[in-house]
């Protein structure tokens, strides 16, 4: 058995020796460098584009919207975002002109010699003043009015979360070139088939004439879900016009300012409870800032809406949500995908309720938390794999939460101490896979190939971006066949080699695509049994059996497609039913200390238990939990994109601060494994779960330490100082 063992990371040796080639490391002979000229106004009409006559333009290739052979569109959900602005600009980082030159520095110099004149139009920069709604949702359960009428108390709160930059350490980078009539696009990306779809519309080409290949990718976290489609279009336009390869490698400033970030959000709760703390009514409003184009906002909002009521049973619920347009760069996917915003509100609201009812938030959570048989806000019955309570109890015990609450209360009463101490708790659920009927529409495929030489190759479009995809796939395939993981290699995501497994997002790679890999390998196993008599036991036997199974062909592919479990039903029109096939669960306790003089927060320890069904590879799984939680802690304490006139002005790692090794706390991680019958070996989604709730646990701990509930992230020394004045 390989599942459950810590197989070493497949991509480890190459990455640890500097041999792994990220896009900018690949030697592409004759490759030019592409740069982007962007809008200088957040909203306006382009009056003219002028090129400085003193510059040697004949050395460059210049591209504008007029050079686009097909649609001027980055295909995603809505057909609204142009590849290059033509006439109208809707945000400060919108691309207008592209330039390529053999020398990177000269290309940047050329970009400075382009003068664009605008007729400025009034921008909308505040989401609360926007009248343009991209998407709205309504969830209703039970009778809200009756719920409030029966309530002993009604508690209201408003919670705000900022944008967040993914801050992958490898910036966005894509190269394009044409080879034998095929347009090849290669680079740092999460979703090769998203890029392919966008390229088909831009270049009016069939899938046989476009090939998208992922290079080793230095982090994504959602930030390379959609933006690479734009970048690929830009690089390919330049490459085709230049008749040579062109790569565009963003520098940090451009990447931070221009590419997608987490949606800022305002969430309002009005909650009715009995005096003993049972939830009777939840009325929740969610507002998110989508930025200038719709991009993924509708689905980000959907996930946020579906998680807004938290991991608690309440008979009467209304969630009203909307995402609006502003003249700022489009916001997009970031680990958690709308859920961290709404869960921040849902979880921190317990602290407010606790004050009103004079019942501690742990007791309140215990009274309302999801169990087997609970019903969610969309009417979904949770019939299996519900580890919420176990996560909560394990976290409370291991963190010594109850004893520390008392100990810190005593500490905080002593004015001689130089710090305040606090410990805060939060719990969440996170739906794995696409929202609602999304997985049915995706109809993902994955497979395994057997070559006549006896090589076994996993075929999937899911990308390894650091999370351990390739190692996990090999482990799942190995146990599905009953063979060592070392027999399996994993094909590079290349649209001419692997089927469309859907995007590498939504915590779906292991549970959904891993499940497909397992099923495909079962088909291979059956073929071995029927045509060779048994599953080969040695490499030699594998080679002999391969010759039999392949019957002279170079390889035989076993591919399967996603099939919706029959028990899952969902109605997009009413937002009722099984929003997700299953949920993962997490609880976290954050133990911290605040300096009374500087208001700096020091994280003492973080304790977390996470129910992920089954850890295919515990070291990799814990790596996701600690890493994802640290991103959540960064959002909670340090990270805040600052916008001025519609553009991020702290677009550098100098003043957009992410956690260092000295900021990150020691973690105690406990894996809870409540198996899911439809997941491979019981596995559920994991990637996003750890990002969801460090925020509210930090805010709850800050409240415990200072006595002030700060309903806004990040909880910087400035905010804490203001709250205490």
């Amino acid at each position: 058995m390989s599942v459950g063992k810590n197989e070493p990371r497949r991509d480890g040796p190459a990455k640890l020796t500097g041999r792994a080639l990220y896009l900018d490391d690949v030697n592409i002979p004759g490759c030019w460098h592409g740069v982007t000229v962007r809008s200088a106004v957040p909203h306006g009409r382009i009056k003219s584009i002028a090129y400085d006559p003193a510059f040697p333009w004949d050395e460059c290739v210049v591209v504008t919207a007029k050079d686009i052979p097909g649609k001027n569109l980055v295909t995603l959900i809505e057909a609204d975002q142009p590849l290059l602005a033509d006439g109208l600009v809707r945000h400060r980082e919108e691309a207008i002109v592209l330039i390529a030159h053999a020398d990177r520095a000269t290309a940047y110099e050329a970009a400075k010699r382009v003068k664009i004149e605008y007729e400025p139009l009034p921008p909308v920069l505040d989401m609360e003043k926007s009248e343009k709604v991209f998407k709205s949702y309504l969830i209703e359960r039970g009778d809200l009015a009756a719920g409030f009428a029966a309530a002993d108390v009604v508690v209201e709160g408003e919670y705000r979360t900022p944008s967040q930059e993914q801050a992958y350490i490898e910036n966005n980078a894509i190269a394009a070139y044409e080879e034998d009539g095929v347009l090849i696009v290669t680079g740092s990306l999460q979703c090769p088939y998203y890029v392919l779809k966008a390229m088909k519309a831009i270049f009016n080409r069939g899938e046989d004439k476009i090939r998208v290949i992922q290079t080793v990718t230095g982090g994504g976290f959602g930030g390379k879900e959609e933006y690479p489609s734009m970048l690929a279009g830009h690089a390919a336009l330049l490459a085709l016009k230049a008749g040579r390869p062109v790569k565009i490698v963003y520098d940090r400033h451009e990447d931070m300012a221009a590419t997608t970030k987490r949606h800022p959000a305002v969430v309002r709760h009005r909650t009715g409870l009995s005096k003993d703390g049972r939830l009777l009514a939840q009325d929740i409003e969610v507002l998110m800032d989508g930025g200038a184009y719709a991009t993924l906002s509708a689905v980000v909002l959907s996930r946020g809406t579906l998680h807004a009521a938290g991991a608690y049973e309440c008979p009467n619920v209304r969630v009203r949500s909307k995402v609006v347009m502003t003249h700022t760069p489009p916001n997009g996917a970031f680990r958690g995908f709308g859920a961290p915003q709404t869960l921040f509100a849902a979880e921190l609201h317990w602290e407010k309720i606790a004050d009103v009812l004079q019942i501690d938030s742990l007791t309140l959570r215990r009274r309302n938390i999801f169990k087997i048989g609970s019903t969610t806000s969309t009417g979904q019955n949770l019939m299996e794999s519900v580890g919420a309570q176990e996560c909560l109890e394990k976290t409370v015990t291991a963190s010594k939460y109850v004893a520390k609450r008392k100990e810190y209360d005593r500490w905080n009463k002593n004015p001689k101490n130089r710090t305040w101490k606090g410990i805060g708790l939060s719990v969440c659920h996170h739906g794995a896979g696409f929202t609602g009927s999304g997985e049915v529409y995706l109809a993902s495929r994955a497979g395994v190939a057997l070559t006549k030489e006896g090589e076994l190759i996993v075929l999937a479009a899911s990308t390894e971006i650091g999370q351990g995809t390739n190692t996990m796939f090999a482990q799942v395939a190995a146990d599905a066949l009953g063979a060592p993981a070392s027999w399996f290699s994993v094909e590079t995501p290349d649209t001419h080699k692997v089927p469309d497994s859907g995007p590498t997002v939504a915590s779906r790679t292991c549970m959904v695509v891993g499940g497909l890999v397992g099923r495909a390998t079962h088909e291979l196993k059956r073929a071995f049994e029927q045509e060779h008599g048994r599953v080969p036991r040695t490499r030699d036997e594998l080679r002999k059996a391969a010759a039999v199974l392949c019957q002279g062909a170079p390889a035989r592919r076993f591919e399967v497609q996603y099939e919706k479990p029959p028990e899952v039903t969902w109605d997009d029109a009413t937002y009722r039913g099984d929003a997700y096939g299953v949920y993962s669960y997490a609880a976290i306790a954050v133990d911290l200390e605040i300096d009374k003089l500087t208001f700096e927060v020091r994280l003492v320890k973080v304790t977390t238990a996470q129910d992920i069904g089954k850890a295919i590879n515990p070291v990799l799984a814990e790596g996701q939990i600690i890493g994802g939680s640290t991103q959540g802690l960064g959002w909670a304490l340090l990270e805040e994109p600052v916008f001025k006139d519609g553009v991020m002005i702290n677009n550098q790692l100098t003043n957009y601060v992410i956690p260092t090794s000295l900021d990150a706390p020691p973690f105690e991680v406990m894996l809870v494994e409540k198996p899911y019958s439809r997941g491979p070996f019981g596995a559920k989604g994991l990637g996003e779960l750890p990002m969801d709730i460090p925020g509210p646990a930090v805010a709850a701990a800050v409240k415990h330490a200072t006595g002030r509930l700060i309903p806004t992230l990040p909880q910087t020394p400035e905010r804490i100082s203001q709250a205490l004045q």
Partner: protein, 153 residues
């Protein structure tokens, strides 16, 4: 002409003396294990050792390396024979996306080689100039401590 030693071999460079060390290593000496993350000395992905001490190679003009020794990740083990430190990273989950890893390894290598204390506190302090967005650092710290202990055996 600028002369320097890179990973034990003598190299010479005839271009602009203020070329960034990172660019010379990547473009002229083919050492693409040196990564650029921010270009302003914040992220540490481009860390190399200059006369044994970690530096951000994006902030060092090549002329400052004249007559000095530069070590990059390529000087450690190979995929077939990882160094103790690299093997520690592989076993403990010290690398995920891998882009910060070469810089992280070089800083850690200098720390371990200096015979400095290798406990949680000192390793975290040593690595605090190298940003990692994937791991949350705990597994990197464990990797370094494991490798350092292994070295004493």
């Amino acid at each position: 002409m600028i002369k320097l030693t890179v990973n034990g071999s003598k190299k010479s460079f005839k271009g602009a003396p203020f070329k960034r060390l990172i660019d010379a290593l990547r473009e002229d000496f083919g050492l693409t294990g040196v990564k650029e993350g921010c270009g302003e000395g914040e992220c540490g992905a481009c860390t190399v050792l200059l006369d044994g001490a970690p530096v951000n190679s994006c902030l060092v003009p090549l002329c400052q390396a004249e007559g000095r020794k530069v070590e990059t990740v390529e000087s450690l083990g190979s995929p077939e024979k990882l160094s103790k430190l690299q093997a520690g990273f592989l076993a403990c989950g010290g690398a995920q996306c891998g882009i910060c890893t070469p810089g992280m390894l070089m800083t850690a290598h200098a720390h371990v080689r200096s015979k400095a204390k290798c406990d949680d506190k000192s390793v975290r302090a040593a690595l605090s100039g190298n940003l990692c967005r994937c791991t949350g650092y705990q597994d990197i710290v464990k990797s370094v401590i494991k490798a350092a202990k292994g070295g004493k055996r």
